[in-house]
């Protein structure tokens, strides 16, 4: 059995007990042994026993050598020990230093075992994890990590377990120590981010873990982690992200708004372009109308100065545009009508223009050569930027006036010609009418002769008969006179007349037509009607025409039928005299009703077709109207109106 090294040394020491050095060495060894514990001694003893060296077999020289060697070795050892001690001192100093550094480091350090349980932790880490060292050691780090980051953490750890390399992970911790920094979006309300709404407003702590895996002296895998509080950085980042996002949203929104308003603007531009085009087109149209108009268009301002004239004005008045624009409207007004006073002109214009807006007035204008020109004037008012203008549209009516005069003359002539025709048609009737008084005269005179030749002629009787004879002669003369008037007068003049008298006069000319045709004539004349201002002959012509038409219609009725013709006069609702000639003849069928007032249309074999159309023209020349109602089988009523004297004076 081999004793342990310590025993061996003791044994050896006994064998060299007198040796002071040995004693010293032994002491030193004992000290060393004490210091290093029995383990090292036991190990040494064991190693010595295994080396197989047996010192008992050694020579003294060898022992001396060996001792010397041993002493040297001892000294070396002591020196080494001193060195070791010194190193130990240094080591413990650096260890303290390290310990201090470890704990004071702002970076958190953690050591985990392979199960992820915290083995070691420094102060900074405890602060980050928000708990005391005692409570944290032995706890799984995973429990402190927020659920959303746990998967990342698991894979992070897994990597260490398979291939221990240096890697970094950013995780969020469930910080219990809530001294969190609300940096967040506060103060950025301008971006529209309020603290409550912001996703990044929380109290979590972000840490950056950087780790390395190694094996400890027990050959267990351990993971060393440094954890850095990057909450602020992270929050700043997230705030920036948030702000960026918001900014982006804002920009997006504004961009879309911009795009939209851009589109709107484009649309508006298009619209403006279109309306501009329309305006141009309208202006061109108006310009062409303005200049092509045969009516003169004169625009004046409120002072009566001419602002613009069109081409027709030049034609009508003989002035060029340059001679008119800027000058007073007085230039176109006859001398007698001019308003000399400028101020008065202004006031006069205002009232005159405003009074006559929308009406057509017949006025007189003055040409450049001083001659007057009859005009139809209509006035419109417009204003631009608060300034009023008047536009007068004038039409040269001299031609029309002339035409009207000619038309009137033509009508009168035509009326006369047709009157002659009418008289021709009535000649035999009139002859009959004259014959009656002539017959009476012949009878009366012969009777007188007989009485005178007889016995005891009675002068009273004879004078009575002669008086009657005289009356009849007058009557015959009257008819002839009227007839002559009716056909003679080519000169037309109007006089004040009573319509009922005119009717009786007209009837006297056609009285002979009624009897032979068995027509009963009925007068329904309103008495005391206002006077009319007419050409008597033309009105009689109208009446006779209408009566003759009625007679012709009545003639077609069977002999036994009661033939009636009524003449009525009255004042109608418009205060015009209305003359109605009504028969109970066969009426006019609808197809003919359309045509009977047109010239040369006739239903009579010997008619000219002029009667009604002339009658209508004559009525219209007297500012009246001619109408008719007709019911086939019932009769026809022709009626026409004439303005009363008072009325025709007024207009």
């Amino acid at each position: 059995m081999i004793p342990n090294p310590t025993e061996r040394i003791i044994v050896m020491g006994k064998q060299t007990s007198d040796n002071k050095d040995i004693e010293m060495l032994r002491k030193k060894v004992e000290t060393l042994l004490n210091e290093h514990g029995n383990d090292i001694r036991k190990k040494a003893t064991k190693m010595l026993s295994q080396s197989g060296t047996d010192i008992s077999r050694l020579s003294s020289a060898d022992i001396q050598n060996l001792l010397f060697e041993f002493q040297c070795y001892q000294i070396e050892l002591e020196l080494q020990n001193e060195d070791l001690n010194r190193t130990y001192q240094e080591l413990s100093a650096s260890r303290d230093e390290y310990e201090q550094l470890y704990n004071l480091s702002p970076v958190g350090y953690l050591t985990l075992n392979k199960e992820g349980i915290i083995q070691k932790i420094n102060v900074a880490a405890t602060h980050l994890l928000g708990n005391s060292k005692e409570k944290l050691i032995g706890k799984k780090l995973k429990e402190l990590i927020l659920p959303i980051d746990q998967d990342n953490y698991n894979s992070f750890i897994k990597v260490f377990l398979t291939a221990p390399t240096d890697q970094t992970l950013i995780i969020k911790l469930n910080s219990i120590n809530t001294k969190s920094t609300h940096l967040n979006c506060q103060g950025f309300d301008l971006c529209g981010c309020s603290t409550q709404d912001c996703n990044h407003n929380n109290t979590s702590v972000y840490v950056e873990c950087r780790g390395i895996a190694n094996y400890n002296d027990k050959n267990d895998l351990q993971i060393c982690l440094t954890i850095n509080d990057i909450t602020e950085r992270k929050q700043v980042q997230e705030t920036i992200l948030c702000l960026n996002e918001k900014l982006e949203n804002k920009i997006l929104k504004q961009t879309s708004e911009l795009i939209e308003s851009n589109l709107n603007l484009k649309k508006k531009i298009e619209e403006l372009k279109y309306s501009k085009h329309q305006l141009l087109e309208r202006e061109a149209k108006l310009n062409s109308i303005f200049n092509a108009s045969i009516e003169g268009i004169i625009t004046i301002n409120t002072s009566g100065n001419i602002v613009s004239v069109n081409a027709a004005v030049e034609t009508i008045f003989g002035y060029t545009q340059e001679e008119l624009i800027g000058y007073s409207i007085n230039k176109l007004i006859p001398l007698s009508l001019r308003q000399k006073n400028r101020h008065y002109l202004k006031g006069y214009l205002q009232t005159y223009m405003l009074k006559n807006i929308g009406q057509i007035k017949e006025v007189e204008g003055m040409r450049k050569d001083g001659s007057s020109v009859p005009l139809d004037l209509s006035i419109a008012e417009f204003s631009i930027d608060g300034t009023s203008y008047f536009t007068g549209i004038v039409r040269d009516v001299s031609l029309r006036k002339h035409q009207e005069l000619q038309d009137k003359e033509h009508l009168d002539e035509l009326a006369h010609v047709t009157r002659l025709g009418l008289m021709g048609e009535m000649a035999s009737g009139i002859a009959h009418e004259v014959n009656q008084p002539l017959t009476s005269i012949a009878n009366y005179t012969q009777a007188c002769l007989n009485f005178i030749q007889g016995e005891n002629p009675d002068p009273k009787q004879i004078s009575e008969i002669l008086f009657k004879t005289h009356q009849q002669a007058l009557r015959a003369g009257q008819i002839i006179h009227r007839m002559r008037d009716f056909v003679k007068s080519k000169k037309i003049y109007r006089t004040t007349a009573d319509i009922n008298t005119l009717i009786h006069d007209a009837i006297s000319l056609c009285a002979a037509e009624f009897k032979p045709n068995h027509i009963r004539l009925k007068f329904e004349l309103t008495k005391n009607l206002p006077a009319v201002y007419v050409d008597n002959v033309q009105i009689e012509q109208i009446i006779i025409n209408l009566i003759k038409n009625s007679i012709d219609a009545l003639k077609t009725l069977p002999q036994k039928t009661q033939r009636q013709l009524a003449i009525q006069t009255r004042l109608n609702n418009d205060n015009d005299i209305e003359i109605r000639i009504k028969d109970n003849g066969p009426g006019i069928d609808e197809a003919q009703q359309q045509k009977i007032l047109t010239p040369f249309y006739t239903t009579k074999s010997d008619g000219m077709g002029m009667g009604l159309s002339i009658s209508r023209s004559l009525v219209e020349a007297h500012d009246g109207v001619l109408h008719f109602n007709s019911k086939p089988g019932k009769g026809t009523t022709f009626y026409f109106t004439l303005p009363t004297r008072r009325k025709s004076n007024g207009s």
């Binding site: 009959h432 014959n435 017959t439 009366y444 012969q446 007889g454 009557r475």
Partner: protein
């Protein structure tokens, strides 16, 4: 002034007062009585055919014309002679008037002598007509007294049948015819056959002989 048939009346119908009045005076100035009427109806209502007369009639009148009145009078078998007066001579009117037996058709104004002559003629004519009418009525009365057989015999005699022929037609003997003939002559107060023939013609028996035979 002396006139024939002073009881005769001149009727005047004209709707024109002056004409009526002047004509009345004119005719009255010759001593004739005049009754004037404004319308045909007035005349019809007042005409008395007992007295001889004539009618001066205006062609053209408003309600009933002269020609219509002429027609109406004919219908009523009033045979008063008519002198038409007219404002103007319408040929068709005058032709119609004459066909219907007018005495004359005068155009106004007319020569008073012609008118007065025509009035006298017309009155004379009316008297003659009246006399003939009376005669005719007498003959008719006598005729009414004949028996049916006698009328048959009369009809055959005036139609120039001999006694023998008449007997054959009526299937009676010659002798019986002779008896009838004697009765007829007696009843008709005819002196001879010529007179009987005249009477028969006046009463238009000759034309209507066949009717009598039936």
């Amino acid at each position: 002034m002396e006139v024939n048939n002073p009881s005769a009346i001149v009727y005047l119908v004209d709707d024109e007062f002056a004409v009526r009045d002047s004509l009345t005076l004119l005719i009255e100035s010759t001593g004739r009585s005049v009754r004037s009427f404004e319308s045909a109806n007035d005349f019809l209502n007042n005409y008395n055919h007992e007295q001889p007369g004539c009618l001066i009639l205006d062609v053209r009148m408003s309600s009933m014309s002269g020609l219509e009145l002429q027609e109406e009078l004919s219908k009523r078998e009033i045979n008063i002679p008519i002198i038409f007066i007219s404002g103007h001579a319408d040929i068709s009117d005058s032709a119609k008037a004459f066909r219907a037996g007018a005495v004359d058709f005068l155009e106004k104004p007319f020569d008073d002598e012609i008118l007065l002559n025509r009035i006298e003629e017309a009155i004379q004519k009316d008297i003659e007509i009246e006399e003939q009418l009376i005669k005719k009525r007498q003959i008719q009365k006598r005729l009414d007294h004949l028996t049916v057989r006698e009328k048959e015999v009369l009809s055959l005699i005036v139609s120039s049948y001999s006694n023998k022929e008449a007997a054959a037609v009526l299937n009676i003997s010659n002798r019986t015819i002779d008896v009838h003939r004697a009765h007829i002559m007696e009843k008709m107060q005819a002196a001879n056959l010529a007179e009987l023939m005249m009477m028969a013609m006046q009463c238009e028996i000759v034309q209507h002989g066949s009717e009598l035979v039936d």
